[in-house]
């Protein structure tokens, strides 16, 4: 691939849009859960202020090299998914760097961030981090199972592992979306989206009122700022992944924002209604209903 300055510029601009939309979306999410609890909630600009505050903390301590690299790996996981994700279908400029077989790479980057974070949090030396890491990895492993089955089903259906081709195949009306042509994969994928987006009932790993905040217990100031930046990016690109896989992609930024918000809101909506699962309950749950739908989706296109 030859170097294209214009493409790089648009990719960076896309990253900026995605970051700010992710921060706004997390503010909206917290506003919505506050209204459900009959509170007024945070001001809409609170995530930006928190981010500036964390980057502006004057002192940091370190526990070693991996402690530094943990948030960096996590961020490169989020940015990596973004780089290989087509944002706007059919647009040359907002394709980022997606290519044939990018779906495999995206699946890999999803786990890469988790592993980097696990190593970094482990070096933090706090016992709560270690417990959080083991909980997070075991939960994420079972989240991946139905998601992978859904993706395998889509790959068989469209006979490709390229996200661009999958989006392209769904163009031309709502009846062409995978949501209608492959309902079982959509159900399996959207149920695992509840876990990937990390809200209640599957937020035991990072919930502040469980063992204090899980893996990032020792992370503070700039480290935490990097993790927050990544969380904002990750929320949007995960929603964009499900949008591209099941809901026909987006043809404009307006459509992109509406669709990612609705997908994100699906996990928020479930989150404010259902209480938190313990880790063995969530592992059991993912290996029951979503797994059955995932297997059905694969069998349907065998």
């Amino acid at each position: 691939m030859d170097f294209d300055l214009k493409r790089l510029g648009f990719t960076l601009l896309g990253l900026l849009i995605v970051l700010n939309w992710g921060l706004l979306m997390s503010a909206l999410m917290r506003k919505i859960s506050a209204r459900v609890a009959r509170r007024i909630g945070i001001p809409w600009y609170q995530p930006w202020v928190d981010l500036v505050k964390n980057y502006a903390i004057r002192s940091q301590i370190t526990h070693g090299v991996m402690f530094y690299l943990g948030p960096v790996f996590r961020l490169s996981g989020g940015v990596g998914i973004f780089l290989f994700m087509p944002m706007i279908a059919g647009s040359e400029l907002w394709m980022n760097y997606s290519f044939q077989g990018d779906l495999v790479l995206i699946m890999y980057f999803q786990f890469f961030g988790m592993l980097g974070m696990a190593l970094g949090a482990g070096e933090g030396g706090h016992p709560y981090s270690a417990i959080g890491v083991s909980r997070g990895l075991s939960q994420f492993t079972v989240i991946e199972v139905p998601l992978t089955l859904a993706i395998i089903s889509l790959a068989i259906q469209y006979n490709t592992l390229s996200l661009v081709d999958i989006v392209q195949a769904q163009q031309g009306g709502i009846q062409n979306w995978s949501m209608w042509t492959n309902p079982f994969a959509t159900i399996a994928g959207m149920l695992s989206a509840l876990g990937t987006l990390g809200h209640s009932p599957f937020n035991l790993v990072k919930a502040p009122n469980e063992i204090p905040i899980g893996p990032p217990t020792e992370y503070h100031s700039t480290y935490l700022g990097v993790l927050q930046t990544n969380a904002a990016i990750l929320h949007v690109v995960e929603s964009a992944l499900f949008m591209n896989l099941f809901f026909g992609g987006a043809t404009s930024w307006f459509e992109f924002i509406i669709k990612t918000f609705l997908i994100y809101f699906w996990s928020v909506f479930v989150g404010v209604v259902f209480p938190r699962f313990r880790i063995e309950q969530s592992v059991g749950w993912f290996l029951k209903v979503p797994l059955v739908f995932g297997i059905l989706a694969v069998i349907m296109f065998m």
């Binding site: 509170r39 945070i42 500036v52 002192s59 502040p208 204090p212 935490l224």
Partner: protein, 223 residues
């Protein structure tokens, strides 16, 4: 570690210096107080020298106060109503945080037993610069109703620097919100630099703490 007679009497056996044989038969000495903890002194971190940047950062610090969720005394009963629908402190950028590493505000809620003071000092030192202390209730000012107790401290600012006192027994959540607003004013004016004060007068604070905490079995500074 200072040479003090009280230390050996109360020392945690887990932290004692000992000889350990490694898997390959090599014998080496483990001194947990030196190996597991840092004994570096706190550093003074000067504010940014460009006023515009420092004012902006101070505004961000004031609008995003993360409170350490550590109830030290009876006053911590006022924190839950503060964060729930009745008073909803989230409106003002006040959020609770479970770990001292990520917190900026430490609420000392009422009387401090000597045993708790030890934990308070450790938690306070683990918070990162800039950090602020809100002292709740009259117990932190002059001992309050515990003025003649043998087991509580009387003046909190002898042990850690305090930014805002909120008087009352108990102060209601409204008073706490007023205290938070006062703290925000101080931060925005750049006058809440007590983390640096603690680093500058470190020896004085340490001497005071050690005078009253007899079982000092922790490093001098916990960063």
């Amino acid at each position: 570690m200072p040479e003090d007679n009280n230390i050996n009497k109360f020392e945690n056996p887990h932290y004692a210096k000992r000889e350990v044989t490694g898997p390959d038969g090599e014998v080496f000495t483990v001194d947990p107080m030196r190996d597991y903890f840092s004994d570096a002194r706190p550093q003074v971190h000067e504010p940014n020298s460009i006023p515009v940047i420092e004012n902006f950062l101070n505004w961000a610090r004031a609008e995003s106060l993360w409170v350490l969720g550590f109830g030290t005394g009876c006053g911590s009963i006022e924190i839950p109503p503060l964060l729930t629908p009745r008073f909803d402190a989230f409106r003002f950028g006040i959020q609770s945080r479970p770990t001292p590493r990520q917190s900026n505000v430490f609420i000392i809620s009422g009387y401090l037993a000597i045993k708790t003071l030890k934990r308070v000092v450790r938690s306070y030192e683990q918070m990162q610069n800039p950090k602020y202390v809100l002292a709740l209730g009259s117990c932190t000012i002059n001992g309050g109703m515990y003025f003649d107790s043998y087991n509580t401290i009387k003046r909190l600012d002898h042990y850690i620097p305090v930014d805002i006192y909120i008087a009352g027994c108990m102060p209601r959540p409204e008073a706490l919100l007023a205290g938070f607003n006062k703290l925000k004013e101080l931060i925005k004016k750049g006058k809440a630099e007590n983390a640096n004060e603690y680093a500058r007068n470190f020896d004085w604070y340490k001497a005071n703490q050690k005078k009253i905490i007899k079982d000092w079995n922790m490093p001098d500074y916990n960063w």
